[in-house]
Amino acid sequence: MQEGRRAFLKQSAAAVSAFAFPAILHARNKYPTIRVLGTHVTLQEPLRERAQKELGINIEFYPGGSAEVLMKAITNPANFDLYEQWSNSTRLLWSSGAIQPIDVQRLAYWKEINALPKTGHITPEARPGAGDVPNKILYIQSDGSLGPTPTDRISFMPYVHNVDSFGYNSAIIPRGIPYETESWGWLLDEKHHGRVALVNEPTIGLFDAALAVRAAGLLTFKDIGNLTRTEIDALFEILIDYKRKGHFRGVWNSVPHSVELMARGEVSIESMFSPAVASLNGMGVPCIYAAPKEGYRAWYGVMSLSSAAEGERKDAAYAYMNWWLSGWPGAFIARQGYYISNPERSRPLMEPEEWDYWYEGKPAEHALRGTDGRVSVQPGEVRAGGSYIRRFSNIAVWNTVMPNFEYALDHWNRFVRTQPSGVRL
């Protein structure tokens, strides 16, 4: 047994030094190949196939969990060419030298990218939200740090983004009124005891929990995007107490897991990502994606260039980045509920009814199909939270790696490991 494990470690070490990924078995052709490290949100096979076809390059996807891919990227930049994840990983990647600056001059659609990632506001009136607002980490300042002052070098290419909240089963929990009655506080409502789940991601779930605690009137934070140690202590004291009492069913690690929990009736309310809502509705579970009156938790998808990418690979990586903003991918992911940073480029590639529903927040004129060809939106249905502008005008906090991230991480770890009182193993 020990020898087997040691052989595995040895093999793994060798793999790390060479590639750090499982060997690619399929044949390569003469075209340049880029390796994309990211999550399942954007590493979708139809996108890969389409990009390969249109760009004439080979693209290899290495999807994984957010922590896993982050670690891989940090460990060795030579292991990837492009990194796709959330903006909260940018500081880690940049400070560890895993990524290199992106030259905005080489981004064909840079100017089309809207104000949100560039300024932190979708509109001048919109509240920016707490935490790592994307513009704060977008530009590479002259001193090599990341900051909001626009420069020609950026740490990531802004592309896919969205706002998240929680989903609830309206067959169990009466439907609320978006922005009026729907509240993060519902996650701590005693009525849902034992049927609540949070996403197991400290940079995400922590804010869902903090928003809930604040909405429930249990705590106030000076800056929810930058919690102090005292605030973290108080927050987790409450959360762990709830967990001990059995209020939380648990945490989920993946979108399918979150779907499974609600589909099986194990939870009635939980942190949720947009595809899970569509999936549950497709399964006949009347899941409503809440528009909390306290505001959303927003995230921005980042595409970063490996510090090791150069030459042909770097060119191919730029080509792939440009392809992402060329219209079709934006239209494709719009049908999954995601937004693209230059929506107008995708608009002509969407049916007007699709545009109206997904971006304008208008009722669906007719049934709309998702990327899998199945009807995902029924006629007359209105997108929860309304239009793109409205949704991004109500941001409470962005997914953030706080200065006290490690401290919060330790607490989060304890929270996850806490078992309900009186439960026998």
């Binding site: 087997g4 070490a13 560890s96 330790d410």
Partner: protein, 644 residues
């Protein structure tokens, strides 16, 4: 209770069959119940076995977590091995086919297995990342050593107090950096990491000062040192960030572990609940079985009692009744109580037979009465008949005696005819002699003498006859041969007159003595000779001149009996008459010549007095009469001998 008219054995078989079927049904029911309980027990055992394995799942998961965390934080290879072993055990356990009672648990097990796989996948990632983390830390140390070496090289090349102070400051900062990084690993306190970063930043500032000469003294070429310090800075950042991500992976694993524990708990609860349910149902089944067995036993007893009652009622009681009835009937009872069994079955038939028996008894009694009366009457009749028979026999004897006497008289007549003629001639001769004068004294004397001789002869003849039927009724020993010869002597005149040759064949050397009344045998021989003479005479009449009558008498002595045959060559007997010759009053002789009782009486006498038989055998010429006489014979009874 009414039964169709069935045979008794059919009813017995039917009753036994129904009882057997009921017993079999009860046994089958019990068997099914026991099988169900047995199956439930097996299921429960299987369930318990799996339940036990599921109960330990929670502990296994905790063990897995402990070993994983130990490896994550300390890098203990033994813990990694232990975690891998537990994973394989759990995976084997969770992928075992369930079946039966455990089927409903499959979704839970699948969910648990999914999270176990995710956990294991993350752990393998951990196994990959842990050496990287170690390597990064080693790199951190080696980078620090490189920086130190470069500083030492610079110090050796250009030494002065101010640069030395700067170099010392850099070394101190490097120490702070390393200390900050490793304190961060230990405490997760970001201030240590920040301290490390600040120390590096400060080091860069000192280098800038050294390069520009602001640190004092002349300008120092620190390009190589800066390059090395930059590498050190990057390594420091990378190892810190890697450690963060490493911790986040741990969080993900914690989440998976939490899910595993949740499903393990659910599995145990569901399995326990299912086990309780099976146990309850088993108790129910056991209770049901007890009830069933009790009811079955009661039913069985009831069935047996019913069967017994039925058998007693249907078979035993009627049969006992019948036995009693038939016993009484056998005793001849005519007023026995016969049951009113009306069914048309064997007992019904027996009942009818009993009634019929009773009627027969009545009839039998009547018949017996009649028979007794008849017997009484018959006895009287028999006595009467016997009396009549005796009377008839007496008549016949009398007749036969008369006939014998007639025969004797006839014989006497034949015997006397010659002497009478001679006497007549002697008397006429005397007359003639007197007339002729020839009558002399002498002559007279001679004539008288001659006459007297004739008279004496006649007188002897009378004696012979009288002697022939001597007046004796006593049995005595006599010689058969003598009796035959004396009888033959009696017929000598007739034989002579009729020119009949007689052959007497005796056995002189043999003892032919027999005990009995010799008169009776003489009478028989007399009859047989008389018949033979008559037959010869009859034939002579039909064939005059050419024919010589012959009678052969033969006496044979055999060991146990005597045979006396009287054979003639007379007219014989018609074939159709043979079977009637022994009937009384049957005769083939001319009217007035035979009485028809001779042979009848001869046979009767021989049978009654000598136990002998008489047969008449027709010959080609004549007849042979054969008497077979046992040497010893007990008379049937001494009858009144009327022969005297």
């Amino acid at each position: 209770m009414t039964f169709p008219p069935l045979r008794l054995n059919t009813k017995v078989y039917l009753t036994l069959l129904i009882s057997a079927l009921l017993v079999i049904a009860m046994l089958a029911f019990s068997y099914i119940r026991i099988s169900q309980i047995s199956g439930s027990l097996e299921r429960l055992n299987e369930l318990n076995r799996k339940l036990q394995s599921f109960v330990t799942l929670g502990t296994q998961i905790e063990e897995l977590k402990r070993h994983t965390l130990n490896y994550t934080l300390v890098g203990d290879a033994a813990s990694a091995d232990a975690a891998e072993t537990i994973y394989i055990e759990m995976q084997t356990q969770l992928t075992l086919p369930l079946g039966g009672e455990m089927e409903p648990f499959q979704p839970i097990i699948d969910a648990l297995n999914r999270h176990l796989q995710s956990y294991h996948g993350d752990f393998r990632g951990m196994l990959r990342e842990r050496p990287i983390q170690t390597r990064l830390r080693d790199t951190l140390r080696s980078d620090a050593a490189s920086v130190e070496e470069e500083i030492e090289r610079l110090r050796t090349r250009e030494r002065n107090a101010k640069t030395d102070s700067a170099y010392l400051r850099i070394l101190t900062l490097l120490l702070r950096t390393e200390k900050g990084a490793f304190r961060y690993f230990e405490t997760l306190d970001r201030s240590h990491a920040e301290s490390a970063r600040q120390a590096i930043a400060e080091t860069f500032k000192i280098l800038e000062a050294l390069q520009s000469g602001k640190a004092g003294g002349h300008k120092v070429d620190v390009a190589a040192l800066k390059k090395q310090l930059e590498a050190y800075r990057q390594t420091t950042t990378r190892v810190l960030q890697h450690f963060r991500a490493y911790l986040m992976l741990d969080v993900v694993m914690a989440g998976e572990a939490h899910e595993m524990l949740h499903y393990a708990r659910k599995l145990r609860e569901a399995a326990t609940e299912r086990s309780d349910r099976v146990t309850r149902s088993l108790h129910d089944l056991t209770r049901l079985l007890r009830t069933t067995m009790l009811l079955g036993a009661v039913t069985l007893m009831a069935v047996m009692l019913l069967s017994s009652w039925l058998i007693i009622r249907i078979f035993v009681t009627p049969l006992r009744e019948m036995t009693r009835t038939f016993d009484a009937l056998t005793e001849g009872s005519e007023d026995v109580q016969i049951s009113d069994y009306v069914l048309d079955d064997d007992i019904g038939r027996l009942t009818r037979a009993a009634r019929s028996f009773e009627e027969k008894n009545v009839q039998t009694r009547h018949l017996l009465e009649k028979t007794e009366a008849l017997a009484q009457h018959l006895e009287e009749r028999v006595d009467e008949e016997v009396r009549k028979q005796r009377e008839q026999e007496q008549v016949l004897i009398q007749q036969s005696k008369l006939a014998a006497m007639g025969e004797m008289i006839s014989a006497i007549a034949h015997q006397w005819r010659q002497p009478l003629n001679a006497i007549a001639l002697y008397l006429q001769d005397l007359v003639s002699a007197e007339r002729g004068g020839e009558l002399t004294r002498e002559y007279l004397k001679e004539s008288v003498s001659m006459t007297m001789e004739q008279i004496n002869h006649m007188s002897r003849t009378i004696d012979d006859f009288r002697h022939f039927f001597k007046p004796t009724s006593e049995d005595e020993a006599f010689d058969i041969e003598d009796a035959v010869e004396e009888s033959l002597q009696l017929f000598s005149a007739q034989l002579k007159n009729n020119e009949i040759a007689v052959n007497l064949d005796t056995v002189p050397e043999a003892d032919t003595t027999i005990t009995g009344n010799s008169n009776h045998l003489r009478q028989v021989i007399l009859n047989l000779l008389s018949n033979a003479i008559d037959a010869i005479k009859e034939r002579k009449e039909r064939q005059p001149g050419k024919y010589l009558g012959q009678i052969s008498l033969q006496i044979e002595a055999m060991p146990d009996r005597f045979r006396i045959t009287v054979e003639d060559n007379g007219a014989g007997i018609e074939p159709g008459a043979v079977e009637h010759v022994f009937e009384p009053y049957f005769t083939t002789k001319e009217q007035g010549k035979g009485s028809g009782i001779g042979l009848y009486m001869s046979r009767t006498i021989l049978q009654n007095y000598f136990g002998a038989t008489l047969n008449l055998i027709p010959l080609e010429e004549g007849v042979r009469a054969e008497v077979l006489m046992p040497r010893s014979h007990t008379r049937k009874g001494k009858r009144n001998d009327d022969a005297s």
